[in-house]
């Protein structure tokens, strides 16, 4: 009798867990939306009514086919930061940064990342929590204050979206460093 009760209790948990996972993904989608992740990580294209996000490449970062010309910022200019028409390449005093592929593609996105890799990245401001520093305009100083629960929901959502194969280029050094090379 006890076994029957245990099995019944276990079966009752199954849909609860599924709903819980779904709720976490929905919350992650909400957080990704209001935190503006699509602003830089989903390429902008020209639409019928002006610029719009290309949701067929949602959160896949700077398109690898779009090779950017040399740096746009001049040292004597009052302009400091400029962006590509896609909003995915950013030029500033730090050099040029290209927004990352956040989709679960295993080779070019976050497909092989663990939740810990993701949390460590946001909390430390280093790639995978261990590598190079994440460059502007990624708002790490603000995002590092996400709660564990928030980051878990965001990661669950990012792992649930369609994978897009897109190898984002490496960042480019600033003009002074480039000249020294």
């Amino acid at each position: 009798m006890t076994s029957v009760r245990l099995i019944a209790a276990a079966l009752a948990l199954v849909p609860t867990l599924a709903v819980s996972d779904e709720a976490q993904i929905v919350r992650g989608q909400y957080l990704v939306t209001i935190a503006g992740c699509n602003d830089c990580h989903t390429p902008m294209v020209a639409g019928e009514n002006g610029p719009e996000r290309d949701m067929t490449r949602m959160l896949s970062g700077h398109p690898e086919q779009l090779v950017m010309p040399p740096l746009a910022v001049r040292p004597d200019s009052p302009w400091e930061t400029v962006t590509s028409t896609t909003f995915t390449a950013w030029s500033g005093p730090w050099g040029v940064s290209f927004t990352a592929n956040l989709t679960p593609d295993p080779d070019t996105g976050l497909g092989r990342w663990t939740l810990k890799n993701f949390k460590d990245t946001i909390r430390t401001g280093r790639h995978l929590g261990r590598g190079r520093e994440i460059l502007p305009p990624m708002p790490i100083p603000m995002y590092r204050h996400f709660t564990d629960e928030d980051l878990e929901a965001i990661f669950a959502y990012l792992q649930s979206i369609p994978a897009v194969k897109n190898r984002v280029p490496e960042p480019l050094p600033p003009p002074a460093a480039l000249a020294a090379q």
């Binding site: 092989r112 810990k116 460590d120 909390r123 430390t124 401001g125 490496e170």
Partner: protein, 340 residues
Amino acid sequence: MHAACGPMEARTAIAALGLAAALAAGAALAEAALEPLPASAATFTPQYPLWSDGATKRRWISLPEGAAIDGSRPAAWEFPVGTKLRKEFSVGARRVETRTIEHLADGSWQFRAYVWNDAQDAATLAPAAGTIVTLADGTRYRIPSQDDCRACHEGGAAPVLGFNALQLSPDRDPLAPHAEPPRPGDLDLRALAASGKLAAFPRELIETPPRIVAPTPAGRAALGYLHANCGHCHADPKFTNGAVPVELQLAIDPTDPRSAEGVLQTLLTSESRYRPAGAADARLIVPGNAQAGTLPARMRSRDPRIQMPPLGTAKPDLTAIALIARWIHEDLKTPEETSP
């Protein structure tokens, strides 16, 4: 209630507040000072030291009374609560910083750095975000942030990196770059086991201490260097979920004689996720060509977007670069030679 206070009560209250503030400040100062070494602390000298831009280092470990390291997983020792380690960094004759690690009662690990004063008689806690110390010759010396400490120490199989079976092996590698000879009284693997402070560690690894099995002496030293400088992030995911999710595995398992061969295979067959601009080839190393491949290129670079290791060093390790180059150029066979 405040309105009922007279001038005398107010002065007493202010004095009490001042005393409390002074006590708090004193407590903070005491907290900020580097404690004297515990009497039980022992020195040790790992056979494959981490490159720290040429700084010389001294290291100590203190294990709590009555407790031992659990060595049942020989590649991932578990240290008892209360374990303390420290490493002192000197540039020339000047002590610059001392880094400490402590295993706290709640199971977490605390990482701190202390900066030595000009008089060299006291060290105070560095800011959690790290700081810069300007040395006498004008060199800017970076004290790591606590996040930086965690970046390396919490990526590998165990948060203690320089004190493990391979690093303490008495079968030391004579070609290890920057290796210092053991000091009198240093703990090595056998001394640690004899002290009773290492439990459940395989006896055969005491009798035949761990050694990297490589075809050539240069290969042994090269793999040892990569293990010590890169293996804490490029670690086997079966030991840690903090490892980076890339195919390149550089951590040696001291219990597995084929481990070095496995590391070599990942070096030869993995593709780097890092791609230099315009590069279609992402091979890590190219046998016979020490100038090619992303691994030597990233070892040579100190551009923070490119360099490996990504932190803890601002100068390339020319000795190690030469060793790796020699190994790639002279010891590794070309793809044609390795074909059946």
